[in-house]
Amino acid sequence: MSDQKKKLLVSAIENGTVIDHIPANHLFKVISILGLDSLKKQITFGTNLESKKLGHKAIIKLSEVYFKDEDINKIALIAPHAKLNIIHNFKVTDKRDVQVPEKIKGIAKCGNPKCITNNDNVNTIFYVLPKDSEKVALKCHYCEKITDPEDMEVF
């Protein structure tokens, strides 16, 4: 398939943000982490698109939506290779990578059922620790147990 045809699979936007190189199996997690399901803007996405790097990737195009670094970096836990293209007037005006944050608050559930955060009204806080060169682990501030981002449940 030519590049031109591939692009047509997900329509172009005039102004906004394109999030590319999301692993296809994590698309819906990315949607819930960024709270896109409650946004009233025009959003299109494609998934199971061929990707040399990821095998299958997903892409999200958001009209009139721009993200703060601290918000978009939350998806680095499950989509560390995601790329952001900032679009103005149909043109890419800026490109950004996501950065793995040191600490994340209130996005994900702790995997430990005996953790205080799963039994009382306490916001979760995780410290992001490097597991190996590719993956990270989330250590709960309260119970100190590790949650694997692959298994994490998003609020």
Partner: protein, 203 residues
Amino acid sequence: MRHPLEGSARFASEVADIPVVNAGDGANQHPTQTLLDLYSIRKTQGTLENLNVFLIGDLKYGRTVHSLLMAMSNFNTTFNFISPEELKLPDEYKMYLQDKGLEYEEHIDITDNINNADIIYMTRIQRERFSDPMEYEKTKNSYVLKNDMLDGTKENMKILHPLPRVNEIHEDVDENKKSYYFTQALNGVYTRMAIITSILGIK
């Protein structure tokens, strides 16, 4: 504060405007036990530095083990972990030691590998920790320390246990001068007196 949920004491300390002492939060941590363990180790070994520490029994749910490991990791300790497969030390503590560049070994059985120990720290294996009760019956007698197993151990070696014990230290060990767990429990009284006077500002 002693509480069955993990992280409960840390949360309480964030919302209370008075000092909170964690007296055990679920299977997570037991820091006051650790202070008395450190006191007992230093008293018997003369130092906390460069010791060979064996932790034996339930290393998964044993909160005293988790706190002791974190505290002793500041003193260039070599750790040996002996536990049944189902009760092995959780990965987060192994990652913690790797981060600090400390050596550790894991074993399934108690053998003469205990001969180079400075401290043997026993913990009890509880029936309710096993998903399969038959597995518990098979396991419970494999982690019992008996007097004749101590013949080749070092002169300075001391046996600690947070107590209460079930059957993991045979009663014939109680008379051995290498057993220290009853004095260790007494040290707990002094250590906790010290903690309480320190938070009340009494000198």
